[in-house]
Point group: C2
Chain length 371, copies 2
């Protein structure tokens, strides 16, 4: 997976990690800095005064020196990446292996730690989420839908939590396809402990994903944040069982906000675990009885056994060529292509709509696929 | 209930019954004749040649003489209307007691036989329908929703069938409100036999309705036809449990076609009796968990304890005055009001939208309310 995990220098890796490890630097500010300076190294390499204009005095100063313990984090991350037992990788906003669907969301992470089959991060995926305390039938539904969707070629994304999440992963692994677990801790952590074996199997046969740095402990507030990746990686999200005001409803809301399909299983009027699903259906989620109901809705983006070759024209398009595989600003593209900004914008929109270019936050554009 | 069951002569009654009893004369043709000639007596009193122009040679001839056994039917109907034990009435398209919501449907019956409290035919109503073979939970839901909606002032309309229908009627009678049973036989018949006691109680405490002539036996083909009255009398239809391809789905479709709300209870993925409800929800029916969900949707037409007085302007409106309480054609109204047809049409539309006038098939208009 050289495409997904490109060679990068120690300095490049360190610069990306610094953008996450620096206290007080949120994702929005980090993306603003990236957009202004073009790369993490440029963000760190410029003067404090330059940064101040973009991110304010406090952050500009913070970024001048590595945070406490950063050298240790960098060493541990390098060792983790070099692990011989399990394929480990980090993909950043600038890498072609970064999941294009995630790029299209409101708040894509700067980078993802990947343990396992990195290519699954860009596979056609459906999220299956639900209660940590499902009914026996809810657990069975998660298992069955996971297996059926997996057999149809879909990758099942979930959150490795107890209950529905775990059953969905198990179902996916039992099917012909695979599964992606998005966790809310560093990838050297195990949480929940009862899913240690499952996490290990997914890292071997599927993919475990985290936006958190190595060593990041399970923090309550990180799990809802993590849910945006579950929704963002997936064409649609199926909620199997959920109480009202549960994390699964957050995932469903984020999926809807990202323009993805939301699916929900109905249940008894007397089951508190069906209330969340019923609320979703009333808000417009598709009521699902069988996997076929999901296939019907997603027919136009269904996975195919073999990936079709990219259109021959892709390589020749001068805008695509000018884009390269790193995020590029519009002004830079005007210089590279010699096209007027208005025409360039129109062409970029066409390329975006045909799925060959992604629009990143901060007027950055990135080529998709390996053409 | 002199308003609902106005005095009419033996000849008037006979003429209405003839329009139904004449073999081969369907409701559409009968309405066409009524529209052309103004009243059933005029339809029968004109020449065969006059009728031929409207309804064809065969029907024109058929209507020249009473059908076989008609005198007996007329005598039995008069005796039934004079019954001392139970209030019996017949309301026709021309009567103010004819349910206005039914008038607004595509295929209103020419007349209704009513046994019981005739005023319930025009009360704010919700239909509850469902399987003849419900699960125990389905039966319990029909009972509970019937009772809760009844307590909120709604009249519950159903079809007196075994299963969900019967439970809905029982629930309604147990609540503060009442119930209307629309049957597919003549009102001197009992069907199904097991509901003889229930039918009798409804005729005492509620209302039993039929569009069929006395003596009409239970015919398989009449029950789906009867369903349009259940939907047509009601502001909304709740389907409690229904298999795919069941009569309840016909009722729901007719309700939707008449612009009424359709409500459905969700259930287990594994219950065949939930499939019909799930299909309805996928087609846009409102998923209902509690009676409150229905109240929310129908808030703007909810029944009130006391009927508000009609707006003072209603009596003064010259178009409303010209309408009277019988169906009137547009040409006749032009003569009565002296208004140009275009202006009259505009005023009639306003009156229709404000619920004071009903538009009948065949360009007939009728005043609503007793102002």
């Amino acid at each position: 997976m050289s495409g997904a995990a490109p060679r990068r220098t120690r300095e490049e890796l360190a610069a990306w990690l610094r953008l996450i490890a620096t206290p007080g630097l949120g994702r929005a500010s980090a993306r603003k800095l990236l957009s202004a300076f073009g790369s993490p190294e440029a963000v760190l390499g410029c003067t404090v005064a330059d940064r101040r204009a973009v991110a304010g005095a406090a952050l500009a100063e913070q970024l001048a020196t590595p945070p406490e313990g950063f050298d240790d984090l960098l060493r541990r991350t390098e060792a983790w990446l070099a692990d011989g037992d399990e394929p480990h990788a980090i993909v950043t906003l600038g890498d072609p292996g970064y999941p294009p669907l995630l790029l299209q969301t409101a708040d894509p992470p700067l980078l993802l730690h990947l343990a396992g089959r990195a290519e699954l991060a860009t596979a056609p995926s459906i999220a299956i989420v639900g209660s940590r305390n499902p009914t026996p039938q809810g657990r069975e539904h998660a298992l069955a839908f996971g297996r059926e969707l997996s057999n149809a070629g879909w990758t099942i994304v979930s959150g490795l939590a107890l209950g529905v999440d775990g059953a969905a992963h198990e179902g996916a692994l039992a099917g012909a396809g695979s599964t992606v677990a998005v966790v809310g801790t560093g990838l050297d952590q195990i949480y929940p402990r009862r899913h240690a074996g499952l996490q290990h199997r997914i890292a071997q046969q599927g993919l475990v994903v985290s936006e958190y740095l190595l060593g990041a402990p399970p923090l309550r507030e990180n799990f809802p944040v993590r849910n945006r990746l579950i929704a963002g990686l997936s064409r649609g999200t199926l909620v199997v069982e959920a109480a009202l005001q549960s994390g699964s409803l957050i995932t469903a809301r984020l999926a809807a906000e990202a323009g993805r399909e939301v699916f929900a299983l109905p249940g008894s009027l007397h089951s508190p675990q069906a209330r969340g699903c019923h609320a979703l259906i009333r808000q417009g989620a598709v009521l699902v009885e069988t996997a076929q109901d999901i296939f019907s809705e997603l027919a136009f983006v269904a996975p195919t056994p073999a990936e079709p070759p990219p259109p021959a024209a892709a390589a020749e398009d001068p805008v695509v060529q000018a884009l390269g595989f790193d995020p590029v600003g519009l002004d830079e593209l005007v210089l590279r292509t010699g096209l007027p900004a208005a025409e360039l914008n129109a062409r970029l929109l066409d390329l975006e709509l045909s799925g060959r270019v992604a629009r990143l936050p901060g007027q950055l554009f990135q080529r998709l696929g390996r053409a």
